[in-house]
Structure formats: C-alpha cells, structure tokens
C-alpha cells in the first residue's frame, strides 16, 4: 500500500493497528452471526422436535 495521499476526499490508509482492530471486529461479528444461526437452529429443533419434518408435501 502506498503512503502517498490519494485525491482529496479519499480516506487515509489504515494503520496496522487499525487494520488489526477491524479484523478482530469482523471476526467478532462473524462469531455473533454464527451464534445466531445456531440459536435459531437449536431452538427450532427443541421446540418442534421430530415435528419439524412433519409437513405436507
């Protein structure tokens, strides 16, 4: 990545510390989304049980 500033209005490049912080946040958001999917899956099974498959075709 070049250290030269871009055209006016272009955001400055991120520092290594900022890039690392953004990466950690992205991982945390991914973990939360995964947890949500798991919650809805487990909840559906727990509430419906085998009935989850009992639907008209």
């Amino acid at each position: 990545m070049s250290d030269r500033p871009g055209p006016p209005g272009t955001p400055r490049p991120l520092t290594p510390e900022e890039s690392q912080r953004r990466r950690k946040r992205s991982i945390a958001i991914a973990a939360v989304l995964f947890a949500l999917v798991t919650i809805f899956y487990v909840l559906t099974i727990a509430k419906l049980g085998p009935q989850v498959l009992n639907r008209p075709i």
């Binding site: 955001p11 400055r12 991120l14 520092t15 900022e18 890039s19 912080r21 953004r22 950690k24 946040r25 945390a28 919650i39 487990v42 909840l43 099974i45 727990a46 509430k47």
Partner: protein, 316 residues
C-alpha cells in the same frame, strides 16, 4: 439534558476516533458485564422458584437473551450519560467518555441488541417475557437514565425497579405468567437497592455533586440519607423472610436471610453512628460491600435449594 442531539454533543464528544471504531473489548465493556452476571443469576433464580419443568435449550436461550437485553440497556445508559460519566472519577474511563467508542456507535449497538434480544426471547419463550424485557430496557434507558437520574433524589428508588425485574422476566419465560414468587423477589431487590446505592453515594457525594446528579446525600443531606438507609434495612428484613412464609424458601434460605437481614440492620446503624472522616468512609463501604454479599447469598441459597435438592420446608 433535553434532547438526543445534546447527548451526542455534550460530554460525549469524541476525543480520538479512528475511522475503524472501537475494540471488541470496548463494545463488551458497554454491556456492563458485571451487571449482566447479576441479571443472569437473579433471572435464573426466578426461573427455578417457579417449580416447573424447564426445557434446557429454551431456558438457556431465554437466560442469554435476558442478559443481552440487560447489557443493551446498560449500553444505552452509557451512551446517554457519557457527559456526566466524563466528570466522575468512577466512570471517566468508560469507553465513550474515554474516546474509545463513538457515541453513535454505542447508540446503534444498544438499539440493535435491545430489539434483537426482545425478539429472540419472544420467539424462544413467549411474548409476555419479551414484553417484560422490553419494559425493563425502556424503564432503565429512558425512565431512569434520561429522566429520573438527573431530576430527583428518588432516582435510584424508582429506577431500582429495572434492576429488580429480571426474576419476573425469568419466571415469565418458563411459565408464561408472573407468580407471587418472582413478585416477592422483585420486591426484595427493589427495597434492597436504596440502602445499597446510598451507602456508596454517601462517600461519592462530591463526585455526584460535580456531575450535578441529585443523589439523596446531596439533596436531603447525609444524616437524612442515613436515617433512610436504616428505614429501608428495617423494611428489607421481613421482606427477606417472605419466601419462607410463602413456602419457596427452605431452611438454608431462612438462616441466610435471617443472618443477612440482621447484618444489614447492624451495618445501617454503624453507618448512622459514624459520620466523620475515615470511620464514616469505612462504615459506608462496609455497608455497600455487605449489601452485595447479602443479596448474593439470599439468591444463592434459593438457587442451591432448588437446583441441588437442598430444599427442606420450614413448617411455620
């Protein structure tokens, strides 16, 4: 503070602020993790005293959502109070006044978690529990933080209802209704809150005065506050024994509540007698610390009786 824009521009003005925003740990700190642990604890007791079968998955997810909802209300409270947090030594290092998180980030985080926790709790358990959780969040973030806290010395008395609601939400989540058990637990936490907070306010009154918060010692004076601490401790004593009279607190709970209640009375008299210098500070800190221990032990006794099979009824 009168408006949303004021809150975003007053003491909450960002100091640092890179385009990336806060650390993950700073967002976690916005949720007041220690309060979340207490909420999980009291809500779990609210579930267990209901004496019904709890589906483990539904119970766990409900508990998690109650905790997330409590965290969200803590986050909204920190967003709104950033200006006064900045001038109080106890709170100046919180993420927003310290410039680690932008106020708008905190607001968005708090709203998303509030709505999400209420919806998931509603889907996982029932809409009465979800409604009670929504009420708790609104009561803490809007009624207490935005209105009562800066308006009246009764702020933590009325606002204490928000902290007392989790057992009711817990019971509603597993039974679909609110029974006398969780109502009694609500009352215990509600009456416990004023002596607990006022003990701290007695020694932090300069901090509260600097921030312009009308805490009881600053408005009615320290002596009046000490008398009220005794009055609430007297009220708490029989209330603490109500679970025994109603049959959901056994011997272990009875002994814990009895000794703890007497301890609260003794500490409140100690606070009343020591009004100057270091003894005053020690007495108030002693009361503050013991009040936490008292509430914790009462709920731990109920938890142990209900979950470990230690319940032995007290025949009155």
């Amino acid at each position: 503070m009168t408006s949303l824009s004021n809150s975003l521009s007053a003491g909450a003005e960002p100091q640092v602020l890179s385009p990336v925003g806060g650390e993950v740990s700073d967002f976690f700190a916005l949720l007041k993790p220690r309060v979340m642990v207490l909420v999980i604890f009291t809500a779990l007791v609210g579930m267990l005293v209901s004496n019904v079968h709890i589906q483990p998955v539904v119970g766990s997810i409900s508990l998690l959502m109650i905790a997330v909802g409590a965290g969200a209300s803590g986050c909204l409270n920190m967003w709104w109070d950033a200006d006064i947090d900045a001038v109080m030594t106890r709170t100046a290092k919180r993420p927003i006044p310290d410039g680690r998180i932008r106020p708008d980030e905190a607001l968005a985080f708090g709203i998303v978690l509030s709505v999400g926790s209420v919806l998931v709790l509603g889907l996982a358990s029932n809409w009465l529990a979800a409604g009670l959780l929504a009420f708790t969040i609104v009561f803490y973030a809007v009624v207490y933080s935005m209105w009562l806290k800066r308006a009246t010395p009764q702020n933590i008395v009325i606002g204490g209802a928000a902290g007392a609601l989790p057992p009711m939400v817990g019971q509603a989540a597993v039974t679909g209704t609110v029974g006398v058990e969780s109502l009694v637990l609500f009352m215990i936490i509600f009456i416990w809150t004023p002596p607990h907070f006022w003990a701290l306010a007695l020694i932090k009154s300069a901090d509260y005065a600097k921030a312009g918060i009308p805490m009881m010692p600053n408005v009615a004076g320290p002596d009046s506050t000490r008398r009220q601490i005794i009055a609430y401790s007297i009220l708490l004593f029989p209330l603490g024994l109500a679970p025994v009279a109603l049959g959901f607190g056994g011997w272990l709970y009875a002994v814990t509540a009895l000794l703890g209640g007497l301890g609260m009375l003794a500490f409140s008299v100690h606070v009343f007698r020591n009004r100057e210098g270091e003894p005053e500070r020690k007495a108030a800190m002693g009361m503050f610390g013991f009040s936490i221990l008292h509430l914790f032990l009462m709920f731990a006794a109920l938890l142990a009786e209900q979950s470990l099979g230690l319940f032995r009824a007290v025949n009155l």
